[in-house]
């Protein structure tokens, strides 16, 4: 469609930016107030107060770089509306405030756009398609730039994931281009912007160790221990230490490090977020509920002893399981660790260059999503976005991508519960899903179908599920008594698909045949 060259990329980026601007008047969640509060805190208070201030319930719980980022933003914000920078102005929203906050997300997304551009460059389009719409790089650019999840989480729900994912994709691109130090630096910086990315740190660590610190392999591909480079390790360590010192150093000097850490890792919060992210624990909780009901029906359980805490009530709270053993943070940590381990081993023993790294990255993200403590549903983007890079390279990964992206994005639906945004989210979801299916199908049209019949049926079932949850259910009388049923259904149903995609990806990675036969475990 576009006039040759890179014109199409500009058109795609511009188009999605226009769309983002159109969404400015849309609904925003409490995260809007969270970020406004952080703007106010960083603008008015000295550094030593940042992690102590608690006027608002939305205290600063991101690492220092993000606080500095808000600090910089606040100096632009004062030209829009100085009132938003007053700490006591809780829930302050003026038109200028909304504009400023929305535009700040849209503008910082430039980094994301640049990162996507770099990713497209390192996926060299060997498959020279005559039609620009069937070029892998074009498809990748659309899948990343127009990603449904990012659009609704950042530009409707309100968060700053765009530029953070930009940092991550940029570091991935740098690693693919063998500019290891830059990649490491970017990732270290990213970690100090938002610590959730620590979930994928193992992939980075092992990959850098394996391909940067050891400079050569044996002829059979196994590790050549002699090629260990002290210089490279020192450089890496230097980068990590410097970045950490820059970020945490001031708080170390002030003696506030424990306070900062306690803000960053609030284990006081419950196992699951306000509504259950579609992971293993959602299935676990659902099983517990089902067993409870069954137990009450068959009189195995005493109804009076059961705590009446509803997990889906909308508040973050701790939850006692009734039948199954309750889960402690330590248990989730161990589960996550065990789940990540095989993928890391795989990366170490079956090095496949950037591809293997990406696979490991996705598996780390997915495994921690499956078993992590207090996982947000938004964290699924951490797996979907890197998997986009893999999906355009192999039909097998494309199939997994379609399942994961569709269910993962669907599980984000409850984030937008207001009626005016209902058409928007459905239309955007359809737009993205139709595109991803038709483009990947045409990209791999010479290979066997991307999805088998069972997977197809599973995905089609999402349509009646959505109709039931959003249209039929509110009309029934259950709405008063069981308001959480749609959320429960959504997260349990999506949990099935995500678990399936996780297992399928794991199996495909573990059983993948490499030139060198090495057992992973």
């Amino acid at each position: 469609m576009a006039a040759g060259g890179r014109g199409w990329f500009r058109a795609l980026a511009l188009g999605v930016s226009f769309l983002k601007c159109l969404l400015i008047p849309a609904y925003y969640s409490t995260d809007f107030e969270v970020h406004r509060n952080w703007l106010a805190i960083t603008h008015n208070l000295p550094l030593s107060q940042w992690y102590y201030e608690a006027t608002s319930e939305w205290t600063l719980d991101y690492p220092p770089f993000f606080a500095w980022f808000e600090y910089v933003l606040s100096h632009i914000a004062k030209y829009f509306d100085p009132q938003m920078l007053v700490v006591e102005n809780l829930n302050y929203t003026s038109r200028a405030t909304v504009f400023f906050q929305r535009l700040s997300v849209i503008f910082t997304d430039t980094l994301f756009i640049y990162a996507v551009h770099e990713c497209c460059r390192c996926i060299n389009g060997k498959r020279a398609a005559k039609d620009i719409l069937e070029k892998p790089t074009f498809i990748l650019a659309v899948l990343l730039l127009w990603n449904f999840g990012l659009l609704i989480v950042d530009h409707i729900h309100f968060q700053y994931n765009g530029f953070l994912f930009g940092l991550m994709l940029l570091s991935v691109a740098r690693l693919c281009q063998k500019r290891y130090l830059e990649g490491a630096l970017l990732f270290a910086v990213l970690l100090h912007f938002k610590h959730i990315y620590v979930y994928v740190a193992p992939a980075y660590g092992i990959y850098l160790l394996r391909s940067y610190c050891f400079t050569a392999n044996n002829a059979d591909g196994s590790l050549k221990w002699r090629s260990f480079s002290f210089l490279h390790v020192t450089l890496l360590a230097l980068i990590v230490c410097l970045v950490s010192a820059l970020s945490l150093g001031p708080f170390l000097v002030l003696g506030q490090l424990p306070q900062v850490i306690s803000r960053l890792f609030p284990f006081k919060r419950g196992l699951c977020h306000a509504y259950w992210a579609p992971n293993f624990w959602a299935l676990y909780n659902a099983m517990d509920k089902a067993l409870t009901i069954l137990g009450l029906k068959c009189n195995f359980l005493d109804g009076t002893k059961i705590p009446k805490a509803s997990m889906t009530g909308g508040l973050v709270q701790e939850f006692q399981h009734t039948v199954l053993p309750s889960v402690t943070p330590l248990a989730t940590l161990i589960c996550t660790f065990i789940a990540i381990l095989p993928s890391v081993f795989c990366l170490w023993f079956k090095p496949q260059g950037p591809r293997g790294f990406l696979q490991c990255l996705v598996l780390c993200a997915l495994s921690s999503f499956m078993f992590g403590w207090h996982v947000h549903e938004k964290a699924i983007l951490l797996a979907i976005l890197p998997l986009s890079l893999l999906s355009i390279q192999r039909a097998k990964d494309a199939g997994i991508y379609l399942i994961l992206a569709t269910t993962g994005h669907f599980s984000l639906f409850p984030l937008l519960f207001t009626t005016p945004e209902l058409p928007i989210k459905i239309l955007l979801m359809l737009l993205f899903t139709v595109y991803s299916f038709s483009s990947l199908k045409s990209l791999f049209r010479r290979e066997k179908p991307l999805l088998n019949w069972l997977e197809t049926i599973y995905l089609i079932q999402l349509v009646p599920l959505e109709i039931f949850c959003e249209i039929i259910f509110p009309l029934t009388s259950w709405k008063q008594h069981f308001p959480f049923v749609p959320l429960l259904l959504t997260s349990v149903y999506c949990a099935l698909g995500i678990t399936y995609a996780w297992l399928k990806l794991y199996i495909s990675v573990l059983t993948e045949r490499t030139p060198v036969r090495q057992k992973a475990e």
Binding site: A2, L19, C21, L22, L23, P25, L133, L428, V434
Partner: protein, 506 residues
């Protein structure tokens, strides 16, 4: 990718943009006592639901015609009735007689927005899609990009889904009529056009090309044989469809006369507000409204309109062709807009939609026109607080046109369909060689001017002595553009290359 999935994506994108625009403000939001078009539509629902059909157009104690009295033809009234019926099911307060005046709430806004959205989805969008698929001699990709450009045309989106009106229904019906005519289903086409006309009387702007094209077609078949049969059939169809639409009012003559009086309010004056037509622009120099009596104004505007229509209509009658028909739709509607009596700024949409139909033939000029037409709506949009959607959708539309037609490389005389014209001028003019460059610079200049005026109008307060300076500037600039466009469309139409031999007839 397949044609169908591309088309699906196009439609989905168009719908997304429409709904995103509809999240914004609407005409007269929170502005008592008269509010705006949104309240007008809601009021019509109230009237049609609660009053017997014989009172709809009459001033009674329950129906104050001075407060947004019904002044659209019967189909609009029926549509309002259907909407009111649904509204009543959801919340009776929305259409309660008298008490619901000025009713505004978030759920009600959602309901009203949905009615426009559904009407658009059912009438306008399918017509556009089918039209683009039926385009001849174009690749599948070109069809999709035409559809994308047409569906993303900001003017219609902003007026229907922002300002709040149901233009997509009447324009969509007119599109269906064009679609039928291009498949030689003349009778079906005339039914569709009658429906359009009975939805909004402004569709009269399109009536002459329809009439001339069908008449010419009858002539071509021979007035003594098949042509006469066709003519009789067409006349019968038109009569029947009109009768069907007006059936409830046909009981007595006074009803019909009253509806007609409501539809054509002659006493409203030559023009309203600051509309980008010739009368408003001239009144900067001479206060026409004060100098000439209203009767003379009417006659004058009628005469000028008629004269400006004449060439295109004669040409179309003598040589009825589909291509000529589309161009005639554009130039006739534009003549009406520029010269006729009591024109609203929103009427430019009646020109824009036919221009959309020829966007694949003359992408450069069509894009230019569509940009100017959106720009001419700016004062209205500013009043409705729709600056943000305007500022987003207009550049986006330009970008889409640039990307899908690479319009800036198609500025030669041939691309503008001016080959025949320039050939006939050969020997007299020497600048033909640098023509593409000149046209391109003019386009860029005009876009820059519109951009600058938009920014000024939105940001800078007007000087104290001239509070209307900015809307007037917009009107003048747009009017100048429109005059040139009228000239251009007429030239293309009259110098149609297929008819070299017969050019002398005109």
């Amino acid at each position: 990718m397949e044609k169908w999935s591309l088309m699906t994506l196009t439609v989905l994108l168009a719908l997304t943009v429409r709904w995103a625009v509809s999240l914004g403000s609407y005409s007269g939001a929170g502005k008592p006592p008269m509010y705006g078009d949104y309240e007008a539509q809601r009021h019509w629902q109230e009237i049609t639901y609660n009053l017997p059909i014989r009172q709809w157009y009459f001033n009674t104690s329950d129906n104050n015609l001075l407060y947004w009295g019904l002044d659209y033809p019967p189909l609009t009234a029926y549509h309002s009735f259907v909407c009111a019926y649904i509204a009543k099911l959801i919340n009776p307060d929305w259409v309660a007689l008298h008490t619901s005046r000025g009713y505004e709430s978030q759920p009600h806004k959602l309901f009203m927005r949905t009615t426009v959205f559904v009407a658009d989805l059912l009438v306008y969008i399918p017509a556009v899609i089918l039209y683009c698929f039926s385009l001849k001699e174009t690749s599948a990709k070109k069809k999709v990009s035409s559809a994308l450009c047409i569906l993303l045309y900001p003017g219609l989106i902003l007026i229907d889904h922002g300002h709040f009106q149901y233009n997509s229904v009447s324009l969509g019906l007119a599109l269906w009529a064009v679609l039928c005519l291009s498949h030689d289903w003349d009778l079906l086409g005339s039914v569709a056009f009658c429906l359009a006309l009975n939805y909004k009387q402004m569709e009269l702007y399109h009536s002459l090309p329809f009439f001339c094209y069908l008449l010419g077609k009858c002539f071509k078949k021979g007035l003594k044989g098949k042509g006469l049969v066709l003519l009789a059939k067409l006349a019968g169809t038109v009569l029947v469809s009109f009768a069907a639409c007006w059936l409830p009012f046909g009981t007595d003559v006074e009803q019909i006369m009253q509806v007609l009086r409501r539809l054509f309010p002659i006493d409203r004056g030559l023009f309203e507000d600051k509309v980008a037509n010739i009368w408003c622009s001239l009144s900067v120099l001479i206060k026409i409204k004060n100098v000439i009596s209203p009767r003379t104004q009417l006659k004058l505007s009628f005469a000028v309109t008629f004269l400006s229509l004449l060439p295109a209509c004669i040409k179309l009658t003598v040589q009825p062709s589909l291509r000529g028909f589309k161009f005639a739709l554009v130039s006739c509607a534009l003549s009406f807009f520029l010269f006729s009596f009591q024109v609203h700024e929103k009427s430019i949409l009646l020109v824009s939609v036919p221009v959309c139909l020829i966007i694949n033939e003359i992408p450069f000029m069509a894009t230019w026109f569509l940009l100017v037409s959106t720009f001419s709506l700016l004062p209205l949009l500013l009043k409705d607080e729709l600056l943000l959607p305007y500022a987003v959708t207009t550049p986006a539309f330009l970008a889409v046109c640039l990307a899908s037609f690479s319009i800036l490389e198609k500025t030669s005389a041939e691309d503008l369909q001016l080959k025949a014209f320039s050939l006939s001028l050969k020997g007299y003019v020497s600048w033909v060689k640098s023509f593409p460059r000149i046209v391109r610079s003019l386009f860029l200049l005009s876009v820059a001017l519109m951009g600058a005026l938009s920014v000024l109008g939105a940001a800078a307060p007007p000087p104290q002595r001239l509070p209307d300076l900015f809307p007037l500037a917009v009107a003048l600039v747009s009017c100048l553009h429109f005059l040139l466009f009228l000239l251009y469309f007429n030239v293309v139409m009259l110098w149609d290359s297929k008819s070299r031999g017969q050019r002398k007839i005109n």
